[in-house]
Symmetry: C2
Subunit: 199 residues, 2 copies
DNA sequence: GCCAAAAATGCACGACCGTGCTATTTAATC
DNA sequence: GATTAAATAGCACGGTCGTGCATTTTTGGC
């Protein structure tokens, strides 16, 4: 591992901290340089542009999320068990991965949903991929007769996305101690409504 | 209505447009000045500081939301009917109020959830008030035996908050034409699960 | 229509933004 | 350990940020 990679990795880590607390708009070259005790041009040469820095930070966040959520969840058996594990690991993955603030993808979604560009495209693709993962697991659970066959998998997946946002807002904005409880109960409510004998 | 108020109102309207598309970080004095064809110092003297501008924009957004959601919804009879009306009017209230982009409160939540200050406090208070409104309506529906008496009103209210976020992301980030459909179906799913005979 | 008050402008300021280029330091290779 | 290449620092640039103040324009009351 060359010197370059070491510094590069350290810059990315500090950059993620900034994004987690201050969002992507707060991830500036100068600010990152100061926090990492590097010169501003030193940071610049590592990424080529501010836009590239933000994009790379987002990709790093996606890697972190994969490690924190998807990889461990896939040790559970396919179907409802894995779906539940995915949801549980989804909640609070950011602090569990060492980030000091909120989820970078929640920030990115809000900041770029009306701003075209490479960052937006990457957010869309990543979210699309993750929702697709949930959908496939729901469909697997349907095949296994753990969930009703007539329900809309995409629908349920996006309900879970909503619950994730609920949890995030309760946790970080409202500082509500019941955040975990409400999100997990919400999950069970949805699953209960999706079991039973079918219509 | 004095000249000052006229300009002030115009500035707020343009400011809301900026926030809706670029978030609060994008609402700068210079940018607002250019858009409104006013000098930068002209904008400054109207608000006193950039922080005050953002706070006032947020309050204006809250007023807009009240007019677009709460006022019309309260013409429906209390209980489940009013709750459904509240939810329906909640979805897409921003474009319906003339805003060109997303919901200012979604932006504010993401941008300020880890940043202390007056803006954060106002977001917390406003969201708290709105959730409280939902909770009271749910409880009213419980009294009227439209919803099960044993369910947790706060829980359901936050489920609806999640659905609102789902709708917002589907609409603006994913540009999914099924956004309305999925959100409304989600509402009915939750209500169905909250009716029935009680445990 | 005049005149005081109000509103908006012009200009300047220090700070920070992103981006280049050159110089210097540091690391890897023989 | 000397040499070469890689990595970082220093510095300068135009642009925008928020903020102040003096000046000019506009407005409203008489």
């Amino acid at each position: 591992m060359t010197k370059r990679d070491i510094t590069h990795t350290r810059l990315l880590q500090h950059g993620l901290d900034i994004i987690s607390v201050n969002g992507f708009a707060g991830a500036t070259l100068g600010g990152l340089a100061e926090r990492a005790n590097v010169s501003k041009s030193g940071v610049f040469v590592h990424f080529g542009s501010a836009e590239a820095l933000r994009l790379e930070l987002l990709k790093t966040a996606a890697d972190l999320a994969r490690q924190a959520i998807i990889e461990p969840a896939f040790q559970a058996p396919a179907g409802l068990q894995r779906l539940r594990r995915l949801f549980e690991l989804w909640l609070g993955w950011a602090p569990r991965s060492g980030l000091p603030g909120g989820c970078p993808f929640v920030s990115a979604t809000a900041e770029f949903d009306d701003v075209d560009g490479a960052v937006r495209d990457y957010v869309v693709a990543t979210l699309d991929g993750f929702i697709g993962l949930l959908v496939r697991e729901i469909q697997e659970a349907q095949k296994l007769r753990e969930l009703r066959g007539d329900l809309d998998a995409k629908n349920l997946a996006w309900q879970l996305f909503g619950l994730y946002n609920t949890h995030h807002t309760l946790q970080r904005l409202m500082r509500d101690e019941q955040a975990d409880l409400i999100a997990l109960q919400g999950f069970e409510t949805l699953i209960q409504a999706s079991m039973g004998p079918g219509k």
